[in-house]
């Protein structure tokens, strides 16, 4: 069995984050076909990268996880200031600026990079997930010849930093999560010659999940739901602004339910209800009973929460400025998208006023997920690519 290592900035059952959760899902589904290890840091908090986990090596769901110390915590105020400076129009960014920025972005983990360098012959492949962080940007340089890249890229200022060019051009294979990501990356880096596949995840339902569970509907009535980290970077500030405006202009009982860790503060409003971090069963029950799942994030590489909603036949309302999210809506015919407040209001009211269409959108959403997001399809595609890359 070939031995492969996934490299991600964080890893653990309690880690909340799309890229990290994605890595864990893929690793766990490949463990029957490959000898899988995880190389990661001891950080749990993605803001400071403070060392949290104590063990250097542990087993999580049958996967060996090797953890390395973060040498320097991130000072987010200083980092944001530095970022602002080097992104100013007219500023001539140097290679040193970019390297300093990547080190400051973190998680700054030279131990992990050293481990890769010293153990490259012990693994057949190294799979680096998410281009943005130190772990991928610096780690991959030690093993280009054995690297598979899962960039989770989208159009943001940092992807224009020249320090990232090598990892997009010198890896042996790439896994894109969406057609939109593939088009964006290949246009940007002219790297269509690198073997690649477009595949993401399968969607797992909890064992106790029941399509007849109407507990949330009974408790909350009509509501829309947001699932994920409650953070301004995820568009939640705009979501709250828009929803409060919606409530002023529309006389109905629609509520906004939130499920996730709050890192920004939630406005006090009788119809904005924060349920915090909930169990998988409650998450699916909440999404199942919702009129729609809302995702206001302007930057998404895949959005597992959108796919999970579609899997339970709940249509979605997404930020139309995100090509990936808009792409899901159009390809599935199971979601609406907005680019400003009037469209946000229009989408909400459409879902409330057209129940028959909403239900049909739900059915189409499940069909979309069943066609493209099944584990057997995903595992086969990835395994084939890994076998080729490892030769």
């Amino acid at each position: 069995m070939k031995k492969i290592a996934f490299i991600n900035q964080r890893y653990g059952l309690e880690v909340v984050g799309g890229s990290e959760y994605y890595t864990r899902l893929i690793a766990e589904h490949l463990k029957d076909k490959f000898e899988v290890e995880i190389l990661t840091t001891k950080a749990l908090d993605y803001v400071t990268w403070e060392n949290h986990y104590e063990k250097d090596v542990e087993d999580i769901n049958g996967i060996t996880v090797r953890r390395f110390n973060v040498d320097k915590e991130r000072d987010s105020a200083k980092f944001n200031q530095f970022t602002g400076e080097i992104l100013k129009p007219g500023y001539q960014r140097t290679a040193k600026d970019e390297r300093d920025w990547v080190d400051a972005q973190g998680p700054f983990c030279p131990e992990l990079v050293k481990y890769i360098s010293e153990n490259k012959d012990n693994y057949d492949l190294f799979i680096f997930v998410t281009y943005l962080y130190y772990t991928s940007c610096i780690g991959m340089r030690e093993v280009f010849e054995k690297s598979v890249f899962i960039p989770t890229a989208h159009d943001e200022p940092y992807i224009n930093f020249s320090i990232y060019e090598d990892i997009f051009k010198k890896c042996q294979a790439i896994i894109f999560l969406t057609d939109e990501e593939k088009e964006f990356v290949q246009n940007k880096f002219n790297n269509s010659n690198i073997p690649n596949v477009v595949t993401a995840v399968g969607i797992d339902m909890p064992e106790d999940y029941s399509v007849d569970d109407d507990s949330f509907k009974k408790k909350y009535g009509d509501y829309v739901i947001y699932v994920g980290r409650i953070d301004a970077s995820k568009g939640c500030d705009t979501l709250f602004e828009y929803f409060q405006e919606y409530k002023k202009r529309n006389n109905n009982d629609l509520k906004l339910l939130l499920m996730g860790k709050d890192v920004m503060g939630i406005p006090e409003h009788k119809d904005i209800i924060n349920l915090g971090f909930v169990s998988e069963e409650d998450k699916f029950a909440g999404v199942l009973n919702a009129k729609a799942l809302i995702l206001p994030s302007p930057f998404e590489s895949l959005s597992i929460s959108v796919l999970e909603a579609l899997q339970v036949e709940t249509p979605v309302i997404v930020n139309g400025k995100c090509e990936v999210l808009k792409g899901h809506c159009i390809k599935s015919n199971a979601g609406l998208y907005y680019k400003n407040y009037p469209e946000f209001e229009g989408c909400l009211n459409y879902m409330l006023d057209h129940e028959d269409v909403r239900l049909e959108m739900g059915r189409l959403g499940k069909k979309y997920v069943d066609s493209f997001y099944r584990w057997d399809i995903v595992v086969n595609k990835i395994s084939e690519l890994f076998e080729k890359a490892a030769k």
């Binding site: 809506c329 015919n333 199971a334 459409y350 028959d356």
Partner: protein, 113 residues
Amino acid sequence: MEVNIEKIMDEIRAGISQFDEQSFKDTVNKINASSNVPVDMPILGKAKGFKKLVGKTINFAIKPRVEAQNRMNASVSEGFTQIAEYIDSQNKMIDRLNKRIDALEKELKERSK
């Protein structure tokens, strides 16, 4: 049932009422034209005594109220005119800023290459 998201989005956008600036300016003009209610109007009839009584009643009871209303109308009219002028100046500023944003985005893209 056929569902087409792009068609639904077109339907939603068509239903969004847009602020009609010209219609607002027309309304402001109408307000300005009709804000002053004349209080001195001829009293018809031949009975001089009756006309004198009606005239005195109007001067005493109604004229002050109409004049107060007219003062209020003038303030409202002035307020709406100021809003219209403000919208004009904001639109000009938005145009200037949009042009500047376009130029800066172009420069940023060039510098990022």
